[in-house]
């Protein structure tokens, strides 16, 4: 079985981990309540999608 030959240095570990980044979701404004929401998904704060009440709030 293949095994690492050398210990991974702290520098290399930290450099690798510094590349873990969370992406900011692209949010749009809800037409009804102007809250930020995800595109193509019913608004979680007012439950409206495409002019229809989808979720009870």
């Amino acid at each position: 079985m293949a095994v690492p030959k050398r210990k991974m240095s702290r520098s290399n570990t930290r450099h690798r981990r510094s590349q873990w980044k969370a992406a900011v979701p692209a949010l749009v404004e809800c037409e009804r309540c102007n809250e930020p929401k995800l595109q193509h998904i019913a608004c979680p704060s007012c439950g409206i999608y495409n002019g229809r009440q989808v979720i009870e709030v």
Binding site: H40, I41, A42, N50, R52, V54, I55
Partner: protein
């Protein structure tokens, strides 16, 4: 070799899958709208719409075909007597899926699948008008294509005598 069904597997065996789809469809017809994961909703849509199409035909044979999938007689009765007549003027597309974001806990994308309301008279009229326009455009295109082909044929026929000497020269 049997071709696997399109869409997500939904876990479990073929029998589990069949049972799950049947139960989802039964709940949908009972309640009109259900909240489930997006993958299940996407699998359910064609299944449920096929059942509604059968219900629209409304005869005993189709009732028996539906009863093979949904064994609850009460639900099948409402499907045939209340749900199917609503869609008599609607040419398919009886359900609507709306995404409602991810679930807490496992972050699964959730959706609401619901039976759509019956077409209003105005909607029906616009639908028919649109279909008529589309048909007219298609017929016009077909005519144009035929005319173009006929022209091309004529051109080719004319072109042949002219073309032969060139070949001989070459």
């Amino acid at each position: 070799m049997p071709k696997p069904t399109k869409g997500a597997r939904m876990g479990g065996s073929a029998a589990h899958q069949k049972a799950m789809l049947a139960n989802l469809a039964r709940s949908l017809f009972q309640h009109g709208r259900i909240t489930t994961t997006e993958a299940k909703a996407r699998r359910l849509r064609p299944y449920a719409e096929r059942l509604i199409t059968k219900a629209k035909k409304g005869d005993l044979h189709n009732r028996r075909l539906v009863l093979r999938d949904i064994t609850d007689k009460d639900t099948v009765y409402t499907l045939f007597s209340e749900i199917a007549p609503r869609y008599s003027s609607r040419p398919g597309g009886y359900t609507r899926i709306t995404k409602i974001g991810n679930r807490r806990g496992d972050n699964a994308p959730m959706a609401v699948i619901e039976l759509v309301e019956s077409l209003t008279v105005a909607q029906q009229a616009t639908g028919e008008a649109e279909a008529a326009t589309k048909r007219a455009v298609k017929e016009q295109e077909a005519k144009n294509a035929e005319a173009a082909e006929a022209k091309a044929d004529e051109a080719a026929e004319e072109g042949v005598p002219n073309g032969t000497p060139e070949v001989e020269e070459g």
